[in-house]
Amino acid sequence: MTLLSVRDLCITFGDTPAVDGLSFDLEPGGALGIVGESGSGKSATALALLGLHTRATIDGTIAFDGLDITKATDDRLRAIRGAGIAMVFQEPLTALSPFHRVGDQIAEVYRLHTGASKKEARARAIEVLAQVHIPDPERRADAYPHQFSGGMRQRALIAMALSCRPRLIVADEPTTALDVTVQAQILDLLDEVRTTTGTALLLISHDLGVVAGATDDVIVMRAGVAVESGPTDQVLVTPREPYTRELLAASPQPSAARPISSPPLLRVAEVRKHFPQTRRRGLRRLEPVKAVDGITLDVRAGETLGIVGESGTGKTTLARMMVGLIPPTSGSITFDGVPITRRRGRSVQMVFQDPLSSLNPRRTIGESIADPLRLQGMTAPRIKVEELLVRVGLSRSLYSRYPHQLSGGMRQRVGIARALAPDPRLIVCDEPVSSLDVTTQAQVLALLEDIRRERGLTMVFVTHDLAVLRQIADRVAVLHSGRVVELGDVAQVWEQPQHAYTKELLAAVPVADPVEARRRRAERRSVAR
């Protein structure tokens, strides 16, 4: 008896089809992954399973436990949501109400579906919080979401999903907002929950590595159509369809690092950045936040230095100090022997993480690229701007377009063109590909590498993604609470990590090979025990 059976599902928004003829089955206790890039229709599918679409036309059948969800009344749907099918969302902070205690929110869901007393509901909330390994659940149940870390919030959401003992959990990009080590923990937790409670899991992700270790079957979607489906071990190891192969090939591949022993171009010496806390407790001033706490490193001319760390390790602060955007509290940063703050605007440029917010929405992209050129005294920069657009793989005619008319990958290309405009010698990239789809990511990385080679640029590449670094960096610096814990050639750090934190990071990197992914999980479990 299948738990969930989807037949010929078609979801259309107005005239735009989001999902076109999707069919799949999910057994009780099974785990199915849906993989696809943005716009592939994977999230639309998830929402349809819970009957959450309001403005879409839905055709086909979604049979959950024998009931067709597409035709169910609102009352039936409300009974199924939470109790039959539970959902775990991508952004755990917005999915929890900031005004209610975590335990109360879980108890509320439980009471709604079971009619239990307040006392029973609270007991159940504490029970599921313990099940997702929240330490000291009785006390933490009284905490508010903002007092939880990102990983704990996602655990709380999973606990909420578990509270009514659902038969199916739909997890839509459950780890996208999380650090790699936390991502590994959450995926392990989902896997554990499935085996201990017998709940089926539908895992939706853009990341093949996330799906590889956590599912039995996988569907690869593209533009609303299932391109390939089958057992995870087969699809991800011996893919039949070219698109699946393309996706697999797009995930970053290790490349040979170049030995570089040129003199340092940028020197960071004993740099600290402390942010004073404005809120006071009593009369005492709070300790300042030590975002960067004594970092010394050289960026050698011509190399690509990777800086890796999880959120809150000070990597963005360090990147912004390197380009002179914020002054260090103490220590010095020199470029070619001159303090960086005096070199600003010429030789050091930056590529930002979110290409949408790094381009002024009210100005055309041509104007945005032309600005640094005008600052250098060029009066008619249009020709140079168009050359730059062509160089980053865009068409000249995009000069008068606005940022919102472009796709994410195109926007990031514009960001790169703008950074190239003043002919810099060093480019600092702060998470330049983390908001992009995997194929776009591969293209942008290739472009960056191409340009670096062509112009003999020096690059600092800040990211949380170790796999990306392995491909692009020559040397890597691992950041942990504002300090460099390990610095060395990429291959050496990968093969023989010295610091415990580096080892932990490396172990958490998701891999697209299902067998390897399961082996790593077993390894992590044995370490935890």
């Binding site: 912004r320 380009v323 002179g324 955007l325 600003r344 605007g345 010429r346 050091v348 440029q349 930056m350 930002f352 993480q353 979110d354 917010s357 790094s358 381009l359 002024n360 929405p361 009210r362 100005r363 945005s368 600005d371 640094p372 600052l375 250098q376 606005y402 919102h404 960001g415 703008r418 405009a421 003043p422």
Partner: protein, 296 residues
């Protein structure tokens, strides 16, 4: 020009613009129009008033006739068309020039506070709070009362209104500037070597247009009403110079006997405010590249 065509494609904007344009034309060509009507705003016509009923105009709808197109003023018999037309000059002139001054001061102070250092921000913000907290009507009366009689009253009114009521604009501008300056595109401009002036002009100001315009559409009516109030209290424009506000306030004593006299300035005030609101809304929509086209 494509921008204009896009603006006039918006029917609400087109309506507002046409009405606002007519109002401004009326104000500009007031002498010509009154000459055309063969009237002037200050001549008394006692023969047109019913002295038995306390000075109410003889005839229907406030004494509308071929000579007096909109009737005559109760009590004095002055031609209402001429007074309305001349009143538009004062009302629109004062309100619009006060608005221009307010935006200039408010946006200037707001951007300076938002982009300036901690101390500049604190000083400018407290100054803003001070002007907002001050009982501006009392201050306006005091200011206008001590100024010599022979100074041009409408200009004086505009300056006084602007000086007392730029606080709201400054606050909105400061808040928006604070949020805009944390965007990455501001950082990108700084990295490429742009100084604070360039950042303010190229990156911050375009982003301020929408909230400031929306706010301006709310400030304009309040300016017209402030002018009306001050004129009513006798510190605004001096009789016999007409203004809509002044007409409205003197109409309060006549509204039972001669309702037409209330509807005329009231209706005009309403129509003008509506028109400027529609214009501001349309402009705001068109200058925002994200909203100016159909939903993505």
């Amino acid at each position: 020009m494509t921008l204009l065509r896009r603006l006039f494609d918006d029917r609400a904007f087109a309506t507002g613009a046409v009405i606002a344009g007519i109002m401004i034309l009326i104000a500009v060509f007031a002498p010509l129009l009154t000459k055309l009507a063969g009237q002037d705003p200050t001549t008394f016509h006692n023969e047109l008033l019913d002295s038995a009923r306390g000075g109410v105009p003889i005839g229907r709808f406030g004494g509308i006739s071929g000579e007096h197109w909109l009737g005559v003023e109760p009590g004095t018999g002055r031609d209402l068309f001429a007074r309305v037309v001349y009143g538009a000059r004062v009302s629109l002139g004062v309100a619009l020039s006060a608005l221009a001054l307010q935006l200039l001061i408010g946006v200037g102070v707001g951007v300076a506070a938002g982009l300036g250092g901690r101390y500049a921000d604190a000083a400018l913000s407290r100054l803003t709070d001070l002007t907002l907290a001050f009982p501006s009507l009392v201050l306006a009366i005091a200011l206008l009362a001590i100024v010599p009689q022979n100074w041009p009253r409408p200009l004086l009114l505009a300056v006084v209104i602007a000086l007392l009521q730029w606080g709201g604009t400054a606050r909105i501008t400061r808040g928006e500037t604070l949020s805009l300056k944390t965007r990455d595109y501001v950082a990108a401009a700084q990295v490429s070597g742009a100084g604070p002036w360039r950042v303010a002009r190229r990156e911050i100001l375009p982003g301020l247009a929408a909230p400031v315009l929306t706010y301006a559409a709310l400030v304009l009516p309040s300016n017209m009403i402030t002018e009306a109030g001050l004129s009513f209290l006798g510190v605004g424009v001096r009789p016999p110079t007409p203004s809509w506000g002044q007409m409205l306030s003197s109409a309060t004593t006549w509204f039972r006997a001669d309702p037409m006299y209330v509807f005329l300035p009231g209706g005009l005030l309403f129509l003008t405010l509506l028109a400027f609101m529609l214009v501001a809304n349309g402009v705001r929509r068109v200058i925002d590249p994200r909203q100016s086209e159909v939903l993505r």
